[in-house]
């Protein structure tokens, strides 16, 4: 059932919230500059609460059920993180307060910078980027700045594997770099010969996700990185898949020059229905001076009696600021709390169980669905949502049918190099029972495909809403509610 929009529920004169009366003598208003009408709804508080509560009940979240979206790491979002971020000492401080009044916040940010360096194997970290894609932009700008400082103005080529997330080429193009796609080989690794062919003096760098979006750790990663370095390029790591590597392998040790972390994936901060995220960037020694400003650092050393004084510094060759203020502090607090609860052993358990869960599901499903790469996976894997003898059933139909059983579907149609792909990432916070139930459901769906495929092609049946007319949405483009009661009369 569709919920009416607030512009349809609005009743003239209703008031949702009252402020105290004005307590100062009023001043004249500049009449010419005052607006005549404010098109916002008029609803009482209980109506607002019911409206948003009922809307929320139409959603599936991690709190509701299994959410195996590949490369998104939909792990459980610890409730203590929410408590932590809401401590008034964190939520009620202004970013421009004198640094003496926010030493706790600065110490926390400094500590997270240090921990992320340790976890990733890097010499410097900036917490400023707002999301993964923003971290990617920061990283590519750092690479570009590095080459320009060396006088290498012709190095504008960025190599991107064909399995890469769309943000990688979009980021490179946004930074004015030239994008060249590199194919993957039969085992899902970067094709070494193709890579060698592109290693010349126009090479700025390679953007590599490792493990990649097929869930596979590149078997030649050290050679790949060495080839790029020998050609004078730098290697950017897309850290979206770090959930497989905590306490297992550090990208910095492998030779990555710069990497972004997704706090809202690996470090359990919630996805929020589309953000906010946080995409800190880690860099090797030679790139520390290019980090965006400001970075948190110790500006006065402490001793046994007084703690150090923390403040903001600007790296010598900083690429500049990539957003206002310091970064997503509220998200940073949540990641801090997560790491503090886990410690090194806990983080290693996270990755071990993440990889265990994915391999377990893979073992349960590989006889029912075609898995294009015959290898152990890392924290996620890709299988094909199709059968050659049942052409009417696509990955989309399998996904829609999964919703009838209370599961959020896996990622569809990505990576592009696997036809009808279903990318499954269970994460470490799912139990064996959940994984068994999911595998059983997928097997049942495979049977349905054989016996009565229309159940799949017309799915979902049990969800609040059915398949959407996306053509109508794109053609008619209704993007705002028109507060016109006549328009929605009769619904």
């Amino acid at each position: 059932m569709t919920e009416k929009l607030m512009c349809e529920l609005s009743i003239p004169g209703r008031v949702g919230f009252r402020f105290p009366d004005i307590d100062v003598p009023p001043s004249p208003l500049p009449e010419r500059m005052i607006r005549d009408d404010l098109p916002l709804p008029e609803l009482s508080e209980i109506d607002i609460v019911r409206y948003f509560t009922r809307l929320s009940q139409l959603n599936h979240g991690v709190d509701t059920g299994f959410y195996p979206l590949g490369s998104c790491t939909m792990k459980y979002n610890p409730k203590v993180n929410e408590k932590a971020a809401r401590i008034p000492g964190f939520s009620k401080i202004h970013p421009l307060q004198p640094i003496e009044t926010v030493q706790g916040a600065l110490a926390l940010m400094y500590q997270l910078q240090e921990w992320l360096k340790e976890i990733g194997g890097f010499a410097g970290v900036s917490l400023q980027p707002a999301a993964g894609a923003h971290g990617e932009l920061t990283g590519v700008l750092i690479i570009r700045a590095f080459h320009r400082t060396q006088g290498d103005l012709s190095r504008t080529k960025i190599l991107i594997p064909d399995s890469a997330h769309g943000t990688n080429p979009a980021t490179s193009a946004m930074s004015g770099m030239q994008v060249v796609e590199i194919r993957s080989d039969k085992r899902g690794n970067v094709d070494i010969e193709a890579l060698k062919g592109e290693c010349d003096d126009t090479l700025a760098g390679l953007m590599l996700t490792n493990p990649n979006t097929l869930g596979l750790f590149d078997e030649n990663v050290e050679e790949v990185i060495q080839l790029v370095h020998e050609a004078g390029g730098l290697v950017y790591g897309d850290g979206a898949n770090m959930n497989a590597l905590l306490g297992i392998s550090r990208p910095g040790d492998l030779g990555f020059d710069v990497l972004h972390y997704n706090l809202h994936k690996t470090f359990s901060t919630p996805h929020g229905g589309g953000g906010p995220g946080s995409g800190p960037v880690g860099v090797a020694d030679h790139l520390v001076e290019f980090l965006p400003h400001p970075i948190v650092d110790v500006i006065e050393e402490g001793d046994e009696l007084i703690p150090p004084l923390f403040g903001f510094v600007t790296p010598m060759k900083s690429i500049g600021r990539v957003k206002s203020f310091h970064g997503h502090f509220g998200v940073i607090v949540r990641a801090y709390s997560y790491i503090r609860i886990h410690g090194a052993d806990g983080l290693r358990n996270v990755s071990e169980d993440a990889v265990l869960n994915a391999n377990y599901l893979l073992a349960l499903l590989r006889d029912t669905y075609h898995v294009p790469y015959d290898r152990d996976c890392m924290h996620e894997f890709v299988m094909e949502g199709r059968w050659p003898d049942i052409p009417e059933v696509h990955a989309l139909d399998i996904s829609k049918r999964l919703m009838d059983f209370g599961f959020h579907p896996p990622t569809n149609y990505f990576p592009l190099i696997v036809p009808e792909s279903l990318m499954i990432e269970p994460t470490e916070t799912e139990s064996k029972e959940t994984l068994d139930a999911f595998a059983d459901t997928l097997k049942r769906i495979a049977e349905e495909a054989n016996s009565d495929s229309t159940i799949l092609t017309t799915a979902p049946h049990k969800t609040p809403f059915g398949r959407m007319d996306e053509v109508k949405a794109a053609k008619e483009l209704v993007l705002c509610c028109v507060p016109d009661y006549a328009k929605h009369a009769g619904e």
Binding site: E470, V471, A474, K475
Partner: protein, 131 residues
């Protein structure tokens, strides 16, 4: 899949039909099938512009994809379909070789036509791609 003879084709799925040195350009039946329901078309060159072979002259958008349309040969744009097509982008799906023509160009160099594929060659090209 419909591939009319008498037209020339590119590997980017454009077609061109030339008469008296004026070429009419659009995208093929294969292209519209790949895109599925087209929701938007924008001709981004203006009448009077001269573009080279390979220059971007239009973009087509469906629900799941967006594609650029390139000039099959170089020339001056003498006419664009700015009446029927923008209002009814679905014509690309229903009538890709007729009402969904995109632009008419005065060819700069008719020898460029020799570099294009004829109907048989394009048919082979499409079949190879499917594998």
């Amino acid at each position: 899949m419909n591939i009319p003879t008498g037209l020339k084709y590119t590997e980017n799925d454009e077609w061109i039909q030339v008469e008296d040195n004026i070429g009419t350009v659009g995208i093929t039946d294969y292209a519209q099938e790949q895109l599925s329901d087209v929701v938007f078309v924008e001709i981004i060159a203006d009448e009077g512009d001269t573009l080279e072979k390979g220059g971007t002259c239009a973009t087509v958008e469906s629900v799941k994809a967006a594609a650029d349309v390139y000039m099959p040969v170089g020339g001056k744009i003498v006419s664009i379909n700015d009446v029927e097509l923008p209002d009814s982008p679905e014509l690309i799906n229903t009538d890709p070789y007729g009402a969904a023509w995109m632009l008419k160009i005065e060819l700069s160099d008719s020898s460029e036509l020799d570099e294009l594929l004829d109907a048989d060659a394009y048919k082979n090209f499409c079949e190879e791609r499917e594998q």
